[in-house]
Symmetry: C2
Subunit: 434 residues, 2 copies
Amino acid sequence: MIRFEHQNLLYSKDLRTAIEPARLKDYTEAVLNAHAEIQADRRADILGFYDLPQKDIFPITDFMSKIDPKFDTMLVLGIGGSALGNKALYNALKTERNLPRKVYVYDNVDPIFLHEILREINLETTLVNVITKSGTTAETMAGYMIMADLLQRRFPNDYHQRMIITTDREKGFLRQVIKDEGYPSFIVPDNVGGRFSVLTDVGLVSSAFAGIDIDGLLQGAGEMAELCAEADLMHNPAYLNGLLHYLYMREGKNISVMMPYANALYDMADWYRQLWAESLGKRRDVKGREIFVGQTPVKALGTTDQHSQVQLYTEGPYDKVFTFLSVDNFDTDFIIPNLHPEREEVSYLGGKPLSKLLNAERKATEIALTQAGRPNCNIIFPRLDEPSIGAFIMMYEIQTVFTGKLLHINPLDQPGVEAGKIATYQLMGKKGYN
Amino acid sequence: MIRFEHQNLLYSKDLRTAIEPARLKDYTEAVLNAHAEIQADRRADILGFYDLPQKDIFPITDFMSKIDPKFDTMLVLGIGGSALGNKALYNALKTERNLPRKVYVYDNVDPIFLHEILREINLETTLVNVITKSGTTAETMAGYMIMADLLQRRFPNDYHQRMIITTDREKGFLRQVIKDEGYPSFIVPDNVGGRFSVLTDVGLVSSAFAGIDIDGLLQGAGEMAELCAEADLMHNPAYLNGLLHYLYMREGKNISVMMPYANALYDMADWYRQLWAESLGKRRDVKGREIFVGQTPVKALGTTDQHSQVQLYTEGPYDKVFTFLSVDNFDTDFIIPNLHPEREEVSYLGGKPLSKLLNAERKATEIALTQAGRPNCNIIFPRLDEPSIGAFIMMYEIQTVFTGKLLHINPLDQPGVEAGKIATYQLMGKKGYN
């Protein structure tokens, strides 16, 4: 199980402006109220992500057992919640778990990016997976039309066995395409919002294809959901971290930096960016009052960004709270050879594992930020494996909804993206938009 | 030449809280003072980046003309200013310029990341380029010892022709290694700080190797330097953008989002992140007074992050200023086939270039953010080519130094990273650090 270390979010002699532990008691009622609202939402069946650990994965594993073994690559077409989880899971596990199949995600309408993917993959052995709940997302539909056309021209006899579609159970344009063309299909459920959907078919199909143990993911998520089932701050890391971040937001720390010390977890910080930004960045509270609230999630990479961002983090404004992600044990590692034993500049590195230097730098950055009075916390993965990743996902989904409740906003909607969609339709000449 | 569109940084009926054009006149003297300080720094030869367009590139082109043609890959070992520019240039141009050789950058001590690179490259045809001014950067030294050891074991007869070293002209551990082992070498100049060094040997060697026209880069940089030579706001985009960002910082907009609408420019936003954060994020002003100043640079990607961050950008706190990067003309493009002409949901996309949709979404996001009262600007690349990229780099280097002068801080130092380095030495048991 992942570990959450929160001591540097609380007052100490270095962190004199940090939150005093006694203050948490003032929020007992707020925590209970938020918890009660979450329970009510669960009864109303709008927080389906809580129940995904009990999901029946047979349709996925059954499909994977029957696909043509020639397929060695999946190309996901999706964007936002239909892409970020796929990338995060695949990149977290591909090397440490030595995954046998590759996953590419085209989550833009950038022509260069598409060209680069098509140059790398072998279309003959690629299964395309189109993911969009509405079936009308402009970016995904553009990619779908390009790839469907390509497959139909190149493989006129069996193109419908080379594309799968993940969309609404009944509604929408793509559900009709599935019926017309006979593509295999999966489901984006009604009771799980896009940015909470990584443990539905949206994220699990590409994961299972790649060779990720999706049962392990759900098992880890289930253990975390159980751990976070009660409104007991000291035993519920999602609620504790949510409350502390809420308090720092109220004190003007409008930036939350997630800094993995592992390239494999960098895309997990991108997944977090959507979850935190889109859920909590809101103009109005649930009563309709204008509040313009939200904390900007920033991804940084250890050790790389020590040489780019840590100057600002240490000496700049007191406007941030930090979360380090780290991995205790790497299966992949290198010993740094002691190439110049006579030279003090480098001999201290000799004979030590690269992972030891990586984790020492994480600890060193924690020490430096703490001494500079910057609140920070750790989430530690014992190793990069499915249960740890699943637990992390569930912790942050619960934390996000809980923090939304503390803020009295709706963490499940995204009214602010409509204006841009409409402007796009107008600029592209869609019928009915002038 | 790139174009800078700043109208949405100024007051309009949508942008009622934006800066009024008349206010810029109040800063005439501050601009002149900052300009005079820059001129003094140039005379003191501490702003060498201004003069790089006149750099003699013969040592680089001569070296490239003589290397064994078998080399098709360069692996850069460096971090921060010795890595970000290399990545930004290569990824901006590799596909549009159809570059003949590959560049990898290992800018961490992550063992999985190194394993992934070594699995992808062919060591037999790879030239390793170690870049560090001091020759003691822990991360780069760890990578150097691993790769030098690997090359010495595998190619005992000619390993010294498979690694080049870019470091201080005379000083440091690596300069000694160059003398001892006979590695070819390049120079990190004294008068150009790491984060301003992309147009020195630090960034130009890997670029020239890849096939980038480094003369074109310097030419574009030179044109921009000329354009920004006078303290005339309306004809100097670096000063104008610097002043406007300075004013927004003072009004509490502590976040600067750079959002390229081109995956190829995403790493350019990472290069900007270091430049802006490390230069302006400072505890003390030049007189030693504590000010804890700095604006946090955030990279976002269009259209991808419309489905992740734009909800927050539109409805969240008024704490941001936005810069869109976009490309007018793509050499690489796709026409979206009109696969379902009878279906209004998608037929508006049919027959149109992917790049048109990409740029329409950029415009739509600009409209939506402007309507929501969020100040924003555009930097438009006519195409992705060397002169445009060079001009962009020079504009931001000048803008950064200028903004530092307005803030009365030293934009060239980074005192805040020492504590972390010392803690790393202690944790790794370096002699003299307990």
